[in-house]
Symmetry: C2
Subunit: 245 residues, 2 copies
Amino acid sequence: MPRTAPLVYTPGHHPKSEAWILPRGPALLRRGKLIVVEGIDGSGKSTQIKLLHKWLEAHGHQVVFTEWNSSDLVRQATKRGKKKNLLTPTTFSLLHATDFADRLTYRIIPYLKSGMTVLADRYIYTAFARDIARGVDPRWVRDLYGFAVQPDAIFYFRVPIDVAVGRIVGSRAKIKFYEAGMDLRLSPEPVESFRLFQGRVLDEYDRLAVEYGFQVIDGTKPIDTQQQQVRSKVSRLYSQQAAEA
Amino acid sequence: MPRTAPLVYTPGHHPKSEAWILPRGPALLRRGKLIVVEGIDGSGKSTQIKLLHKWLEAHGHQVVFTEWNSSDLVRQATKRGKKKNLLTPTTFSLLHATDFADRLTYRIIPYLKSGMTVLADRYIYTAFARDIARGVDPRWVRDLYGFAVQPDAIFYFRVPIDVAVGRIVGSRAKIKFYEAGMDLRLSPEPVESFRLFQGRVLDEYDRLAVEYGFQVIDGTKPIDTQQQQVRSKVSRLYSQQAAEA
């Protein structure tokens, strides 16, 4: 029987003892699956996770969806900071980590504990890729998210930078300031800044893919082809679980 | 001539190179002094820093004052989270770190660079002591604040827990939920919870005092006696600077 471990602290447990309660999540008792999609803007990952969501529900799974930067706790702060271009890379990073911690506590862990499937559009790897692309220390940001729960699958939708730029420029009226990394002053021109910044993010993702064992999906392939690959892998996740039960 | 180092990142510097930009502050070029007071609630540190503030101004120094948890960026979020008792130790810690990062960027570093004296009522050691008392991993929280600037002096006003409790209970209508560590459920009774939680914080401060070389001031001594000790040390800081110049 798996040992139930507290996520962050044990009330009444005095930290003076040797057994520090680590803000680390892997010992979390859980029965549900955590499935994550990652990729640069314009990679098509959101389309894929929506298709997966419908498919899982059609097969009788209880599924919840959660996306990056969506906790009520710091939404206003993030919005205000972004609007006024007040955020340094460190503040930017910390605001997102706070958002994530709140979301993990209320929107991810309870569902995993209750046996539901959690689909996350972006997870800690988004923070790693973007923050490192902003010049934040790679070790610092990894430590920062040390409290996160390990996903069961990480799908990385990989597209060349020109494909992503084409999709974003083609589909939207305006590229957002931070999305284009305009705070880094790589170029005064938004599309060029987007290309340069997202190019850095892409490089980071490629490194993270190796380090964390991402399932790499070719995001230039037809939507259906990609979705078949995703479903095939997800099916194996559930059949493994059934075999173990 | 001291080397000017960027605090967080160099625009245009690609993180692929070996020279990672660390989110660490010690290389900051600065001419002003950063003077910090620390201690548990009811230790008398705020009274002491106010007296120091007046004295420094009377002696012709340009002084700015900054206090814990006061950045506009996340004030609303912190207030809301606290009001609804929604904060876990990790979220609590991250919100305060975000607040601190914002304050460091806009309310501390520019003044230090311009040669002014910054007086801080609470600094990163408050986060260390409180977060560790809440069960957060001591190494994690130290890494979290790795971007902070080293103070020139840290005054620690030390009072036994009973003195602090007496002062707080005597002076205020109500002890606040998080101040009393009620989130840890050490006791359902606010005053008793305050005593237990602040007792832990006190233990942490005593450890930090050794680790970081705090100037320990006996907070049970008369106000004037304490202030004389503070002024004497601060005077030496300025005369050292004058001698080096």
